[in-house]
Amino acid sequence: MQIDIKAKEVKPIRHTYSHIARRFGEDKPATRYQEAVLDVQAVDNFHYRPTWQPDKELYDPTRTAIIMEDWYSFLDPRQYYYGTYTMARAKQQASADQSFKFVEKRNLLDQIPTDVKQTILDYVVPLRHYEWGANMNNYQICAMGYGAAITSAAAMHGADRLGNAQYITRIALALSDNDTSVLDNALAGWTDKTQWQGLRKLVEDSLVVQDWFELFVAQNLVMDGLVMMLFFEKLEAQLVAAGASTYAMLTEFIVDWHAESMRWVDKQISVAISESEANADLLNGWFAQWTDAAQGALAPLADALFDNGSEVISSITESLKSRAAKAGVSV
């Protein structure tokens, strides 16, 4: 049978889903990002109360003190849905994998002086446990948060943190020729060594925070802001100067990842703050409180790593504050 299809006859009857058209105020084509996240979470008529939290609905906006008129204001400037997210990370991991292979094949890590290697093992490798805490906190944000926009991005961010922990583990194994005792030592450092206890306590305190947006501020803005600067800028510069430039090839994934995800983090902060004064007050308070705590927690590590530890802490705190101020935080 010959079917004669006239192009003009196969016209769409609409251009996007109605819940999206209502947001636009008109029926026009939407992006894949918009269709992937907008209004995807159920909001009404839940059947049963959670047995694990009977005072709340399954999805409940009151699991944080901040209030939003539209929880889908928390859009991701990177416009990540699962497909764009995994394709972006696949590229980054391919390039990281190349770097690891390049370094390992030529035994380039052998050129790093032993004491510098030891510094990495003692003062960077324990961060795999820090990343693990960050992973848990972001899945907490995904699980308890409201609206598919911020919660889906938090799941990806949580997965990224597991990836970071695994890259750090891989660095440790590469430095030690797969001697797994270096990981045991790093864990022992994390749980027992004096310098790490402030940071470990900070992480453990964050793990019991009930308000998921406070947790977002604490983990993704404050703690990460300071930790990343301290270890992957300040310390890294010092290590490279001491002969560890090949090491910097192996941390590239984490460094690039942090630069990218700051855009998402800062956007969420500015959206929450610009919503209302009440939100702004909450965020300002959380920022101040966690920044104070984090400064103190990191001080012993900075003192152990730098001749001028307290100056390093002040300088990274200033940078964090100016970054937060740009997002609207009163610092």
Partner: protein, 507 residues
């Protein structure tokens, strides 16, 4: 030369990243995994169901997504919807987007919660990965259907409908039930019962159906999603094995959950049975055949394997065996009668389809269903297409209208009743009643569409007010396929009889 680490050891190093907390007590950090009564002696005994580090995950998933979106793009650029067997087929997709895709999202959030809250790290990582996969599934489904939404009715307000429309309470209450349960019950409900035992009954027939009916976009997202499902199945099986091996006291609890959740899942899949046998213009296999292969045969092998722990096939398996002859016909009858209030089209099968049904159901179709369906078809052809104007009583547990018959008497509707706190609750079957009776304090709260409508919580009195509340485009999203804009558009595009000139728009 570097020391070699095998896959197993290496993966452990990549995922066992936790520590015993001391600044905050462990039971405050992990507050949710003890209240259900499941006893865990040693989380270290957890066997990783698969060993994929994040970099490998990104690599494989990124590659799958790249392929999938290339196919979706090609499909919409070439107006792939014109290659399907018939526009009736699209109703299977509508049911999927309205009823199943929102469950994928629910799974995403549920696994995120377990991925944070199980004390064991191996279990957490596996759940986190599944959480991400489920996000993938809901999003690729929305994207895959996006093209169909531009050309057919019944897709455009799926999220709004899922929260409100009566028949979507069936899948929604199912997943709300799982997500409001504790983490171990969730794993038995979704990880094991749904993903391991029942998922093949959902996906394989759906995707084979899509392949049979020329819908290559759906075949692609379906099979691509299934490749994740394989990991999910392994997780479900490991979770249950782990619980059973940790403590003998766990066995009766797990058995009760298996009994409950296979039944809950089975009732949700009754919608799939109607889809397979009636909505697909070309059917690769009947519901009964799918049930035999994927539940009786594969499920049988699984229960043989679990017998060593003392786990048995649920008592009601016999009911399912009897019902497989009837299920799809009864569900289609319910949907057909209530199509005025549904965002899908229904229709009575033509002779060829009726003959196929007779062949697939030799003991029941001609005897019980053909006469009824032929009568309805005659009525419709004479301009008396019947539409129920009210909603019937629905089962308090599965929320399906009371249209199922007694397992041993296909002429008698099955009713069961329980009393709780002075109120009467109605059920479609013994297993649904048993589920309620064990946890009445949970199920008495269910959001029951007919009751909500009668109480005026769905837009007001009468069907028109309710349909407005649903945001249906009347006469386009609902009613019989015959006479629908979908039919008119299809005929126009394909140059078939009955096409009308000019553009046809949804009202």
């Amino acid at each position: 030369m570097a020391n070699k680490l095998n896959m197993r050891d290496r993966y452990k190093l990549m995922t066992r990243l936790g520590w015993e907390t001391s600044y905050q007590p462990m039971d405050k950090v992990f507050p949710y995994d003890s209240y259900e009564g499941i006893k865990i002696k040693d989380w270290d005994a957890w066997e990783d169901p698969f060993r994929m580090t994040m970099d490998a995950y990104w690599k494989y998933q990124g590659e799958k997504e790249k392929k999938l979106y290339a196919i979706m793009d090609a499909f919409s650029q070439s107006n792939g919807h014109l290659n399907i067997s018939d526009a009736r087929y699209v109703n299977a997709l509508k049911l999927f987007l309205q009823g199943v895709s929102p469950l994928e999202y629910q799974a995403h959030r549920g696994f995120a919660r377990q991925g944070r809250h199980f004390t064991g790290e191996g279990a957490r990582v596996a759940c986190q990965m599944q959480s991400l996969d489920e996000l993938r599934h809901v999003q690729t489904q929305i994207h895959g259907m996006s093209h169909f939404n531009k050309y057919f009715d019944g897709f455009h307000d799926f999220a709004h409908w899922h929260d409100r429309v009566w028949y979507l309470s069936v899948p929604k209450s199912f997943f709300d039930d799982a997500n409001t349960a504790g983490p171990f019950e969730f794993m038995v409900a979704i990880g094991f019962s749904f993903e391991y035992v029942l998922t093949n009954l959902l996906f394989v027939p759906f995707m084979s159906g899509a392949a049979y009916n020329g819908d290559m976009s759906t075949v692609s997202f379906g099979f691509s999603a299934q490749s994740d499902e394989a990991r999910h199945m392994t997780l479900g099986l490991e979770a249950i094995r782990f619980m059973l091996e940790q403590h003998e006291d766990n066995v009766p609890i797990v058995q009760r959950w298996i009994d409950k959740w296979l039944w809950r899942g089975y009732k949700v899949l009754s919608l799939v049975s109607a889809m397979m046998d009636y909505m697909l213009p070309e059917s690769p296999m009947s519901w009964k055949e799918a049930w035999e292969v994927y539940f009786e045969q594969n499920g049988g092998a699984l229960f043989n394997d679990l017998a060593r722990y003392g786990i048995t096939v649920p008592d009601y398996a016999e009911i399912c065996t009897k019902e497989k002859e009837h299920l799809s016909h009864q569900v289609w009858g319910i949907l057909y009668n209530h199509t005025a209030a549904a965002a899908i089209h229904t229709w009575m099968p033509d002779d060829a389809k009726m003959n196929w049904l007779s062949e697939k159901y030799p003991d029941t179709f001609d005897k019980y269903y053909r006469p009824r369906f032929e009568y309805w078809r005659d009525q419709a052809e004479n301009g008396n297409r019947y539409y129920s104007q009210t909603l019937p009583l629905v089962c308090q547990t599965c929320q399906i209208p009371m249209g199922f018959t007694e397992p041993d008497d296909p002429t008698q509707i099955s009713y069961r009743v329980s009393e709780y706190n002075g109120d009467k609750y109605h059920f479609c079957s013994d297993p649904c009643k048993a589920i309620f009776d064990f946890e009445p304090e949970k199920y008495c709260h269910a959001w029951m569409p007919p009751q909500q409508i009668f109480q005026g919580n769905c837009g007001g009195e009468g069907l028109p007010a309710v349909l407005e509340h649903y945001k249906f485009n009347l006469g386009a999203d609902n009613m019989d396929y015959v006479g629908s804009p979908d039919e008119a558009n299809w005929n126009l595009w394909k140059g078939l009889n009955g096409s009308v000139s000019g553009d046809v728009k949804a009202s």
